[in-house]
């Protein structure tokens, strides 16, 4: 057993209000540079929608992620041989139009314009060419546009839904949408790392953060098409790839990543998971229907004495093991099993998990009546506004049972609180709901606590980085100059 630590995250989608504060926090710190203006290491999408870059989920266009080739796992459009034929031109790389052309405005015009009869205007100016331009898109151009043909209806995840289901989703009075904040998944089986011909992208062994060594990157661009989440970006100015660094300079000093720290809805959780690195390839190659359960299996129980011993033997610091025991992510992913990775079928084993949104199931209107409690409520779960099939496409590789289970768990917790605060449902009924999804009062209470009440230090459990032992600290500073930052060229 080869135990490693991974900093993992949970985003609770029911709590996301789509305010983009995370995106702006990230942008201000990391991508406010020439060549990086178009990058949003953190972005928030409206689902159903086409996302950023447009249609990123459609691997028929971008050919990202892994696929099974017989029993072997291969990168879809790169890898040892295929990738090398695409160095001159990579047919699957998104270009600027798939993202958007970054722009500013000619604000000086507002001040410097000569006196005239008309109000001066600030024209949009391209941040690439510096010339006036017409704005055709932006990083969140599908924001709140559920139902629209160009965005929501072009969502790839609707492909397998019947026409009636789609129509039902987009009826004006039943219109449905939710927000999907995305950052780099810091995968256990990262396709970008595997596709990089220069060996510039690597996973930090001590905490699993995936980074691009800016000194080693040679701009072959295979990582950009290989990442199925399109979370590696090409800096057109420096000719290098860049990606979310999980704010590692903050993590190393015990601070929370900027996107998570600034999250208004408090939807984000961060903590350590221990996993068995020997199993990565086996688990990434299991049949699609087993992907979710096997992915959970790769994470080890930090309370198990044997695991702790193995972890110590593998050089995991005691402080990290303690952090793993306190990890909120472990609770969501392993104990309660209510958080799922985005698009597990890409087979990269993401370390970012989402609690699927329950959406307005509580206020379902039927025959002029609001259905709040009903004895056969479970009978109606497939009639919730957003089709379970759609959520299953996003978070479970089409496994609807998995989504149903999670929604039932969330609902059971809500009824428990309904029982405790309003009291119009009976205790026995709540108990039956809980036991149906293998929960009890105690677990449900801790779920409620971590979801709704948990303070900062419970939502974010960062293991000490042991900077005193970092190799970087023991070398001459001039040797690693420019390794970790982003130089200006």
């Amino acid at each position: 057993m080869n135990v490693r630590a991974q900093i993992a995250m949970v985003f609770h989608l029911d709590k996301c209000i789509g305010c983009h504060t995370c995106s702006v926090a990230c942008k201000n710190i990391w991508t406010d540079r020439k060549g990086a203006e178009y990058m949003w290491w953190n972005n928030v999408e409206t689902k159903p929608g086409t996302g950023y870059p447009t249609q990123w989920e459609d691997q028929e266009i971008y050919q990202g992620g892994w696929q099974k080739h017989g029993h072997r796992l291969e990168l879809k459009a790169s890898g040892h041989w295929k990738g090398m034929t695409r160095l001159y031109h990579n047919p699957y790389m998104p270009n600027i139009n798939d993202y958007y052309e970054p722009f500013s405005y000619d604000y000086q015009q507002l001040i410097n314009a000569p006196a005239d009869d008309d109000q001066p205007t600030a024209r949009p100016i391209s941040l690439v060419t510096g010339k006036p331009m017409d704005i055709k898109g932006g990083p969140n151009w599908d924001d709140d546009l559920s139902g629209t043909p160009d965005y929501a209806r072009s969502d790839v995840n609707l492909r397998d839904l019947s026409a009636e289901m789609q129509e039902a989703m987009f009826q004006l009075e039943r219109m449905v949408m939710f927000y999907l904040p995305r950052i780099c998944n810091h995968c256990l089986n990262p396709a970008c790392v595997a596709a990089c011909p220069s060996g510039a992208i690597y996973k930090r062994a001590e905490d699993g953060v995936v980074l691009v060594n800016q000194d080693k990157c040679r701009g072959w661009r295979l990582c950009i098409s290989a990442c199925p989440y399109k979370k590696v970006y090409y800096n057109w100015k420096s000719g290098k790839s860049e990606k979310c660094i999980l704010c590692y300079p903050r993590l190393e000093t015990g601070q929370v990543p900027a996107c998570m720290h600034s999250c208004v809805g408090r939807i984000r959780y961060l903590g350590v998971l221990l996993y068995d690195a020997d199993k990565i390839e086996t688990i990434a190659s299991v049949p699609e229907e087993q992907l979710l359960s096997k992915h959970r299996d790769i994470y080890l129980d930090p309370f198990n004495k044997q695991v702790v011993q193995y972890a110590k033997d593998c050089g995991i610091p005691d402080s990290t093991i303690v952090a793993a025991q306190k990890s909120p992510v472990y609770k969501f992913v392993k104990e309660w099993q209510i958080a799922l990775p985005l698009h597990p079928e890409f087979r990269t084993l993401p370390s970012l998990f989402y609690v699927p949104p329950l959406l307005p199931i509580m206020s379902q209107v039927r025959d002029q009546q609001v259905l709040v409690s009903s004895k056969n409520f479970w009978g109606n779960i497939d009639e919730i506004r957003i089709p379970i099939a759609y959520l299953a496409q996003l978070f479970a590789a089409g496994n609807e049972h998995e989504i149903e289970c999670i929604l039932k768990k969330q609902l059971a917790v809500r009824y428990l609180r309904r029982f405790e605060t309003v009291g119009d449902v009976s205790k026995e009924w709540v108990e039956s709901l809980l036991s149906e999804v293998h929960l009890n009062f105690e677990i449900a209470h801790s779920m409620y606590h971590l979801t709704s009440l948990a303070p900062f230090h419970e939502r974010f459990v960062i293991p000490p980085a042991h900077r005193e032992e970092s190799i970087e600290m023991l070398r001459e500073t001039s040797l690693h100059k420019g390794e970790t930052g982003f130089n200006t060229f």
Binding site: M84, H89, S198, G199, R204, K312
Partner: protein, 226 residues
């Protein structure tokens, strides 16, 4: 004058390339990149880049093979049919390279966004490349059977550099276009460390035998817990 052009200049060019490249790769890793502009324009690049790179790689390898094993090539091309086939193939690749570089240049000038990421040194690269390809095609057409005489006249000239006993007697008598082609070739070598051409020293050959996942530790794990 001849000594300066045919001996000092090539030596300087090769030395510049060697020392410059070592310095750039060792200390200025951040500045090395393919500087791809595919992000801004992809369709023309598909034809331009693929044609140009395929052509130039094969032509460069051809020149290199002629230098390394001149005698075998001379013997191999003894048979006229083999010589004709090789010449025609090489000529076809030369034309392909030419078309490729023209497409690339057109793209650089025509696309406003690509122009933004064009450096001044890029035009130097394009200039020398064009000169090189045009003189190359000229030589191939007007001074035919180059594969044969290259191995007997030019290869010894280049070899003489490496044995530190430069011999220009044969080279000095060659037609002017061949000289221009050879000298601009040395200019091409000289500018490698100062331009984007450095990217061909970055060819990631080690990727073929590397395992897919890369883990790097920034912490000396053995020291923890002790």
């Amino acid at each position: 004058m001849e000594t300066l052009l045919y001996i000092v200049f090539p030596y300087l060019a090769m030395l510049t390339c060697l020392i410059g490249s070592i310095i750039r790769i060792r200390f200025l890793g951040y500045t090395i990149s393919s500087f791809s502009s595919q992000f801004f324009e992809s369709k023309l690049l598909y034809w331009g880049s693929r044609m140009f790179h395929t052509g130039i790689v094969i032509l460069l390898l051809g020149h290199l093979v002629g230098l390394i094993i001149p005698r075998s090539i001379t013997l191999f091309t003894n048979h006229p049919l083999r010589l004709v086939i090789l010449e025609v193939t090489a000529f076809a690749f030369a034309l392909m390279t030419f078309v490729g570089v023209v497409i690339l240049l057109y793209r650089r000038i025509k696309e406003p966004r690509v122009r933004v990421v064009t450096r001044k040194t890029d035009f130097l690269v394009y200039g020398i490349l064009l000169l090189q390809i045009i003189t190359g095609i000229w030589v191939a057409y007007f001074h035919r059977w180059g594969i044969s005489w290259y191995t007997t006249v030019l290869a010894p000239y280049i070899h003489s550099f490496f044995t530190l006993s430069p011999d220009i007697s044969a080279f000095a008598t060659l037609p002017v276009m061949i000289k221009v082609h050879a000298l601009s070739g040395f200019a091409f070598i000289a500018i490698i460390p100062f331009t984007r051409l450095i990217h061909f020293f970055a060819y990631p050959y080690h990727y073929f035998y590397r395992q897919y996942l890369v883990f790097v530790s920034n912490i000396n794990l053995e020291k923890i817990n002790h």
